[in-house]
Symmetry: C2
Subunit: 305 residues, 2 copies
Amino acid sequence: MAVTLNAFRVFAATARSGSVSRAAAAVRRTPSAVSMTLKQLEEAIGRPLFDGERKTRLTPTGRLALAEAEAALDRFDRATEAIRAFAAAETGRLSLSVTPSVAEQALPAALAAFRAARPRVEILLRDTDSANVAADVAEEAAEIGIAGPPDPADPIADGLAFRPLFRDAIGLAVRCDDPLADLHRPVRWADLDGRTLLTHAVAGEIPAARAPSEDAPLRALTVTSALALVRAGLGVTILPRLVAPTGESDLIFLEMAPDAAPRRTVGLITKRDRPLSPAAEAALVEIERALDALAARLGAAFERL
Amino acid sequence: MAVTLNAFRVFAATARSGSVSRAAAAVRRTPSAVSMTLKQLEEAIGRPLFDGERKTRLTPTGRLALAEAEAALDRFDRATEAIRAFAAAETGRLSLSVTPSVAEQALPAALAAFRAARPRVEILLRDTDSANVAADVAEEAAEIGIAGPPDPADPIADGLAFRPLFRDAIGLAVRCDDPLADLHRPVRWADLDGRTLLTHAVAGEIPAARAPSEDAPLRALTVTSALALVRAGLGVTILPRLVAPTGESDLIFLEMAPDAAPRRTVGLITKRDRPLSPAAEAALVEIERALDALAARLGAAFERL
DNA sequence: ACAAAAATTCAGAAAAACTGAAATACTACC
DNA sequence: GGTAGTATTTCAGTTTTTCTGAATTTTTGT
């Protein structure tokens, strides 16, 4: 004796088509099922919804009921669709906080693929240093963080989970004609005596980059501009393998000795025990795929984990 | 495997209370039924809605689903409530078109009772002559008409139904000291020779009121003002029993002979084969009740039909 | 680690919804 | 105005869905 959404659906189909049999076809039921449902609905409401002539004309109550039923059906259908789309990662929000090197080298390909497949997902990308990445994730400003492992001394680390994604070597970008290029062994700090070491945003990610220099520091804002200065002969710069120039170039990457500058580990930072949104999970797939592609391209100085 | 409104209801109760058992109590089911419904919903959506810890925390998908489910539930509940209220004549619109005599004498009591019982029903009352009442109903400007029977020659009469409500005598309102008051028999037109017959809006409803007068016509706008003129000795006025003054008064009502002015029949005019709204049906009950009360008060010159 | 509480699973039971056949109501055509 | 044809309703039985209660597993608090 209760009004059900299904009864609304049957009623709306009947009122719209003006016929029990057509409504039955529309809702994939037999006419007798439709007839019974309609009767139940009228009993629950306590008034007829149709008057006389077959089911072609609505009573005043029927007209109101049709409007209300269609509004309720529409809201329900949109609700289920919204949930389905969100669960299928077709909609939602993807918020990432990553270090500059990742933002520049790993994410563009991943996000391009993600965006092409899921154009209705809102994307928010922030790049900052590792400590801030962890903070962003901790305070839920970002759902996904990609950076070095959170500092265990920091209390926010307790609520975070870290999963390594890759490890890459720290090294120098030098001109091909630089004497260091002929070293044929890992570089050590001593090799840089008397040389100018250019600094830039990504270099800030490298814990070991305590460049001992007598000269005043020479800082560039981006890796690109730092490399331009290196190319112009102003010095060398330190950077992780991920952002070093690859392939034919007038610059080459020289790995540093592990005890001079140990490889850095970069991984996924998320809130502990907090499931990811479907969109974030889908993004992660693309990110891992992009990292695999990078690993294939960058060789041994870049280890996929 | 489809998402159902009932699953939404169970899910919302669980998410709100944070517990399967409390939700079960809220929806009057056993915990096992709730557990199964939740499982079905998660299967249909293809993602978990809760994470780990009992059912206290929602996943991102669960948060979205809760918002959507509650919106859908709310819309459904409001739809059923709106339909119920309309069917119970608690809401809706009551539009009436009636003749002035009915508007003045029969309706006030009926509408007062109706209004007190159903304050949320919008009321629209128009008073006009019988032909316009019929027209109002025909073009659905009014759902209920109360007037004389529609003219069968008028094409709009085909779409209308007429049900007699009462019949009342046509007569004169005269001063107690008027010579006509001593007639002690039905009045005929000849009795009015040499007298002034006052006209007013309600007199227009009376088909027989072809007052043969040599003097210039004397017209008042309302019955009240016409009676004031009668009281002042300017003449007599013709009116149906319904609007004549009753009880102790300086005026008395003298019924006319049936062949001089036959009783008028007033009835309900509605669209043929068109059911009334619940509000209109409820109003009709009050109107009939008010007419019964009038019949008891007005005596033989007013017949309830 | 253990007792207690909560949730889940499962099988059977109850309720609801559906179907097909037969009866009835309505329409349209002669 | 009657009748054939179509649409709808009713009914009984069946299928499907949903629910319950007991047993089991999981989780929590001590």
